[in-house]
């Protein structure tokens, strides 16, 4: 099967620092890829090249067999690469459907096409449909987003991406700020996306989360890809030792407790 995303030898330098060094990454339809690594390992830089925020200094990106030169996030989004950052980019003063349609509001004629109003009814109906499709239960669509829980907000951000035809979803620490129940719901949603054919790249510090959803785990350290494992064929111990480097583990004799299933560590 052809990968949906094929990143080959991506490199990004900032001055003298090589943040990402010749990293290759394939993402296939119907899988969740966990991207892990310690702070400064280059995860975010890699993701930002795929989502068009940074332009690589070397290597190339193919998306759906097309070679891509993404100049900005909007171009990435146009072809279907959606990134959800921790801050979710929701306008908390607006309701759910306003957020799903943020910046892409549907209009209807009021005085011909000269004066147009927003077609709120249409936007609400569409929002309800996409939320239902993802199995998301969000309280009244008229609720201001700030009154929703962290997980529900996350769900709104995901629903927005899906509504606008995301074909690859990139999620940066989606569970970091959430309580346990909410974390589970978001992971559920990640699985739902995968099952509906939208592959997900998920960045997380939380080993439990990674093992709960990822089919494949890619480990980065100091700008390099140091390992790639099928989730079913590895252990948290192995992943952590790849993350921190085998020599550290050897020196200490044990896996540092703090890194084992480190929960909510700062990004």
């Amino acid at each position: 099967m052809e990968p949906l995303l094929r990143a080959v030898n991506l490199t990004k330098r900032f001055g003298g620092l090589t943040a990402v060094n010749q990293v290759s990454l394939d993402v296939y339809r119907g899988e969740v890829v966990g991207l892990v690594g310690d702070n400064g390992a280059g995860k975010s830089t890699l993701i930002k090249m795929i989502s068009g925020v940074y332009q690589p200094d070397g290597g190339e990106i193919e998306f759906d067999r097309q070679k891509m030169a993404l100049n900005n996030p909007r171009e990435a989004r146009t072809i279907g690469i959606e990134t959800i950052y921790q801050d979710l980019a929701l306008a908390e003063n607006l309701d759910v459907s306003s957020n799903i349609f943020l910046g892409r509001e549907v209009k209807k004629p009021f005085i011909g096409n000269v004066v147009q109003t927003m077609d709120r009814r249409h936007m609400r109906r569409e929002s309800a449909t996409v939320l239902e499709r993802l199995g998301i239960d969000v309280p009244p669509l008229l609720q201001q987003t700030r009154n929703l829980s962290g997980g529900q907000r996350q769900a709104v951000a995901i629903a927005r991406a899906i509504y606008w035809n995301a074909r690859l979803m990139i999620m940066d620490e989606p569970t970091a700020a959430l309580g346990v129940t909410e974390q589970r719901k978001v992971l559920m949603l990640v699985r739902t996306l995968r099952d509906q054919g939208v592959p997900v790249i998920i960045i997380s510090h939380n080993m439990q989360d990674i093992f709960a959803v990822a089919d494949r785990i890619v480990v980065m350290r100091r700008g390099l890809k140091v390992g790639e494992r099928k989730a079913a064929q590895t252990t948290a111990d192995e992943i952590v030792s790849l993350m921190v480097g085998a020599e550290v583990v050897r020196e200490m004799g044990v896996i540092p407790k703090a890194l084992e299933g480190a929960n909510g560590a700062p990004a």
Binding site: A91, L94, G103, R104, E105, V115, T117, G135
Partner: protein, 375 residues
Amino acid sequence: MTTKEYEESSSSATTEPAAPTRTGLETLEMLRKVWAWAFLVLLIVFFTIAAKQLNDTNFLSARSIQGILVYATQIVLVGLGQTLVIVTAGIDLSVGWTLGLASVVAAMVMQALYASNVNPVLTIAAGAAAGLAVSLIPGWLNGWLVAKVKVPPFIGTLGMGGVVTGAAFLLSGGYPIAQQPPYLGQLGNGYLLYIWPGHGVNFFSPPDNLASEQLRELIPIMPNVVFITIFVVLACWFILSQTQFGQHVYAIGGNFEAAVRSGIPVRRTLIWIYTLCGLLSGIAGIVWAARFTSGAANAGETTTLTAVAAVVIGGASLFGGEGTIGGTLVGSLIIAIIQFGLVILGVVPFWQYVAVGTVVILAVIVDQLGRTLGK
């Protein structure tokens, strides 16, 4: 997880940071929404009783109600633009001075055309057009400074206020621009309807050749400037609450970064907002010129404060994202009633400043409290 499980887990207590229950939040938001209305009613009751007791006047007579409304138009017109700006988490401190500049320019044009016997409609239209056109300039510059040069709105518009004041004084030479056509005053102080009980109804002007006691029998209905203001209010309400532009105003104030990332043309929208704010101050300037048949650089000296007060009292948040035209309307009425009521009670007028200043500070405190409690 099934939908049912979702419902269960969302209703059960989770380890989420304790958010107030939904009903608690709703009550809080209800309070934030209705307190201005409640305050308005309280004020009316207070002044009605006080005016009756202290100097036996009827605060709620048709004449004084219309007087309050006429007085409120200036606050409302300037407050409308200020609402748009404050919803984006900005502020425009040049509005009062733009009002003055527009009144000066409009008055100068009308004075000149009147002196050369141009026809009345053309004179007023040209004066109004000139006043409105000039008001676009500081508005656009404010927007440009805020959106493109990233000057903080507070300081950018304060500076612009200084420039505009100077320009208005330079143009007018420091004097009011009087010698206006008489029909200007009729427009600014006239009514839409004049009911002469037992005789009939006249539009726009009282019946000709009435004796003074007959004039006293006349019941004037709907001041022209109130009528004009209603139209402007409806237009602004429509823009802010029904259009995509209005939605973008809220989005910018709610989460600037998200607005940018979602592809909203944030900078262009901001420039439009400040320009519109200038234009609305300009309209207020024309109305001022018509009411006082004059133009004066300092016509709107106190209006900046009263307009900001009206918007904030009306529930807009200086943090951005919140605020409605209806709220601003209520806020304007509250200010107008306080000022008018104090006059009727015979309080030294300087106390009005103290009252308005105090009320605006209180309103901001209520807003902040609401936020901390809501978090």
